[in-house]
């Protein structure tokens, strides 16, 4: 329900689009608090491989999720050109590590397509819808509740 499809039915919405590997993804702009450059994190012992560690976000301790590793697209080796998208979902604040943010785009309901049924592929659990853009790009809308460290079924 936190995905894009339900939220934007019947109205235009803005999304933050970014790239992971060769694929385009997006998050509803409503969840995004800020976007900051990558800074070294403090490693958390025994954390899942996609948890890059924690950073200090103005006094709060915030975990950084390597989105690429989370979506089984391969672990990211962060560099200063990477960004951390700070999102807030269910009162929980998390940083999402991604490659450069490409754009902030408007989507209309007719662009939203359901995720096709696929078998044996884990990543579609994390995608709530697909936006087809006029320029031919395909944006995968992320299901944030499944990505956050506290999300159901992911707590170790």
């Amino acid at each position: 329900m936190l995905g894009i499809s339900a939220d934007i039915q019947g109205s235009r919405r803005e999304v933050v689009a970014f790239r992971l590997g060769e694929q385009d993804f997006c998050i509803d702009i409503g969840y995004v608090r800020e976007i900051r450059g990558w800074t070294p994190t403090t490693v958390i012992p025994h954390a899942e491989p996609h948890i890059k560690g924690v950073i200090n976000l103005r006094g709060s301790v915030v975990a950084v999720v390597d989105l690429s590793a989370r979506l089984s697209l391969g672990e990211t080796t962060p560099s200063p050109r990477h960004v951390v998208i700070i999102v807030s979902v269910n009162n929980q604040i998390v940083g999402l590590l991604a490659e450069v943010v490409s754009d902030i785009l408007s989507v209309t309901p007719d662009m939203v397509k359901p995720v096709p049924e696929q078998v044996g592929e884990g990543s579609q659990d994390f995608i709530s819808a697909i936006m087809t853009m006029p320029d031919g790009r395909m944006l995968r809308a992320l299901e944030l509740t499944h990505i956050l460290p506290m999300g159901s079924g992911i707590v170790p």
Binding site: T42, I44, P45, H46, I93, V94
Partner: protein
């Protein structure tokens, strides 16, 4: 406009204060039931009355009914119809407990403890009986505000002295639902009233503030009226309104002789009023002359310190922000140092000043969260009453240092462990009356509950004057329950510590009070969760003392910064015994991968933190590193192997679980001067998980 819900919330907050006052008053009465101060009875009566009034407004019938009975009995005491005696005092105390229960039940929306309420209500009824009040069913009727001019219903006789009354309600008066018109009406029943509204303090509508009413009244009251009768009208508002009652000249010019006593009173009142008038005049004069001393602020009545209620979340936010400020300041000073500025430069000295200010602000904000332990200690009086009733033992509670201030969150979480300890002290600590007499002690046992600040910690002690711990028996029980191997060599304090082991219950027969399966191990766990320690000491025949040592606040922690595997972590200083750079000859391998260090004749297992936390090994093998010896509250020692010790400092505790989940072996996080996050090690859990697995500890913690 405030919704009913917020009014409800503020009513129950109000009730907390009133119940505090009630408990305070009852305690004073109980301390000296013979020569008590009648004012104390009045204070108790007023508290009960206010709770009743508020309860009526919210339709809390159980509460109102009980409070009414209670009030009737107290009224008897205050008017002298009833004489204070021990049984009455006990009933009053119990009724205070029940009233508190009823308020809590009403607040939480749960059914009140019916059986206890009924029992105490019956006691009260018996005491109230004969005063013709108990059959009169009490109903709360909201008073309608009548806008009709108040007509004097009293006889028009205007002989006797004239009272001049100055009545200036404060905002609080309206907040508590009092209505000046009602009071003036009540005065009109006493005699002829002339009411004149004093509008001088009323502000223009633009500056109107509902919380600072400006309306005052001057009332002249003619008739043969005792000043005390007038005072009674204002009894419930005397601390929320300014009331001056002045015996003025009689209405007729023919001098009627006033009694000498009245004359004296009149003179006294006049003398009191005089300076007030001067003070009022001062600001006007001072306004013109710059630099003239400002008028003293109006002194709160009966010396009470003005307080406000603040949402705890706001204070916490402030604490967080100040933590930020401290961190930013540390970052700035690093930048200045890097820029090569002289430490005498203006920038550096300005920064010094900021550091001082930040420190002062931090202390002040921490002080906001600090609360006296008094409410907790008062709660314990009740616990003692209940437990002495249940066990039939006689005991009194002596409290020392109840003004000691502790962080609010600590206070709330102290109630359960202290309750358990008080019960334990009476039930297990104190001997039976016969045994006490045989030992030449007074039959009534004494439990001393004391609190004090000592070297940055709060020390709370629960001491009884009982027989002390029966060590042979404790040892016997522990052996029988398989908690210790038979014939183990144990010192006296080791035996005492057995009481804290889970599954230990020394009482042979399980009593209703303590020993219901939960033992002192629960107390210890709760205190540990607060970052504190609990210890026990016992003297044969003289009693047992439990000592709780707590940190002043949960917001900061004194820690040692350790570096290992390229990471910096903080270890709480309270758990560190010593640090050493061991010679490799003192380190011995034990089994496949375990190692121990021989230190002062003791073999201590080594926990290599790089392995425990599964970090990449960067530096030297741990033999060349540093060992930090820690001790847990259970007395277990462990040596933590780290690469380097960096620093020792106070760190602000930040939760990891807010935005992440719990991490094994880590209790929280903090932010270092360079803005990076450092994790705070939980030594207790580290040792616990190391012991629970005989294999290398890291395996047990893999998430």
């Amino acid at each position: 406009m405030a919704s009913l819900d917020t009014l409800r919330v503020s009513f129950f907050q109000e009730c907390e204060d009133l119940l505090d006052r009630l408990a305070d008053g009852l305690r004073q009465l109980a301390a000296d039931p013979v020569n008590y101060d009648i004012e104390t009875v009045h204070a108790v009566f007023r508290a009960v009355h206010s709770i009743k009034g508020g309860g009526g407004a919210f339709g809390l019938d159980d509460l109102v009914g009980f409070a009414h009975l209670y009030e009737t009995v107290l009224d008897g005491l205050r008017t002298g119809r009833t004489v204070m005696e021990d049984a009455l005092m006990q009933t009053l105390l119990r009724a205070g407990d029940v009233l508190a229960d009823l308020v809590t039940a009403a607040r939480d929306g749960v059914p009140p403890p019916a059986e206890l309420t009924a029992r105490v209500a019956t006691e009260l009824e018996q005491l109230a009986g004969g005063h013709g009040d108990k059959d009169e069913s009490f109903a709360f009727e909201p008073m309608m505000l009548s806008l009709d001019p108040i007509e004097a219903e009293a006889p028009s006789v205007s002989d006797g002295p004239r009272h001049d009354i100055y009545f200036a309600p404060q905002g609080e008066l309206y907040v508590t639902g009092n209505e000046p018109a009602g009071m003036i009406l009540a005065l009109s029943r006493l005699g002829t009233v002339q009411v004149e509204a004093d509008l001088s303090e009323v502000r223009p509508l633009a500056d109107f503030s509902p919380e600072q009413p400006g309306l005052r009244w001057r009332i002249t009251l003619d008739g043969c009226i005792e000043t005390a009768e007038i005072e009674r009208v204002f009894e419930f508002v005397e601390d929320i309104a300014q009331v001056r009652i002045n015996l003025g000249p009689p209405p007729s010019q023919e001098e009627e002789p006033t009694s000498p006593a009245e004359a004296v009173e009149e003179a006294g009142v006049a003398a009191q009023i005089q300076p007030t008038a001067e003070i009022l005049a001062l600001p006007l004069a001072a306004a013109g002359a710059r630099g003239a001393p400002a008028a003293p602020p109006p002194v709160a009545q009966d010396g009470a310190v003005a307080t406000i209620r603040v949402n705890l979340a706001r204070v916490d936010k402030l604490i967080n922000l100040i933590g930020e400020l401290v961190i930013m300041e540390a970052m700035l000073s690093q930048v200045i140092a890097k820029a090569g500025l002289d430490s005498n430069s203006e920038a550096a000295s300005g920064l010094d000043r900021i550091r001082q200010l930040a420190g002062e602000i931090q202390e002040s904000v921490m002080a906001i969260r600090a609360q006296p332990l008094r409410p907790v200690f008062q709660r314990m009086e009740r616990i003692l009453r209940e437990v002495t009733e249940a066990t039939g033992k006689k005991a009194r509670l002596v409290t020392v240092g109840e003004a000691t201030e502790v962080d609010k969150t600590v206070i709330e979480r102290l109630i359960d462990p202290l309750t358990h300890m008080i019960r334990n002290s009476v039930d297990h600590g104190l001997e039976s009356a016969a045994a006490r007499q045989a030992a030449g002690k007074p039959v009534e046992g004494t439990i001393t509950l004391s609190a004090a600040h000592r070297s940055g910690r709060v020390i709370i002690e629960v001491a009884d004057d009982g027989g002390g711990i029966d060590r042979p028996r404790v040892r016997d029980i522990a052996e029988r329950k398989g908690l210790i191997p038979t014939g183990a060599v144990l010192g006296p304090s080791d035996i005492d510590s057995l009481l804290f082991l889970p599954g230990f219950s020394s009482k042979t027969e399980v009593s209703a009070i303590s020993g219901r399966g939960v033992g002192l191990d629960v107390v210890r766990r709760e205190i540990q969760a607060l970052g504190g320690r609990v210890s026990i000491s016992s003297v044969d025949g003289a009693g047992t003392t439990f000592t709780i040592a707590l940190p002043l606040t949960l917001a900061v922690l004194e820690g040692m910064l350790l570096e290992f595997g390229g990471q910096t972590m903080v270890l709480p200083l309270s758990s560190i015994v010593e640090t050493l750079s061991p010679a490799s000859s003192t380190i011995h391998a034990l089994g496949r991968s375990n190692r121990v260090v021989l230190n002062r004749g003791e073999l201590i297992p080594i926990l290599d933190l790089v392995e425990v936390f599964d970090l990449p090994r960067l530096g030297d093998p741990p033999e060349q590193g540093v060992l930090v010896i820690i001790v847990t509250d259970a007395g277990t020692r462990a040596a933590l192997a780290v690469d380097r010790i960096l620093d020792q400092r106070q760190v602000v505790i930040k939760s990891i679980e807010d935005n992440y989940h719990a991490v094994p072996g880590i209790s929280a996080a903090t932010i270092l001067g360079d803005g990076h996050v450092a994790l705070i090690i939980d030594p207790e859990e580290l040792v616990r998980s190391a012991r629970s697995e005989h294999a290398p500890p890291l395996l047990s913690m893999k998430g």
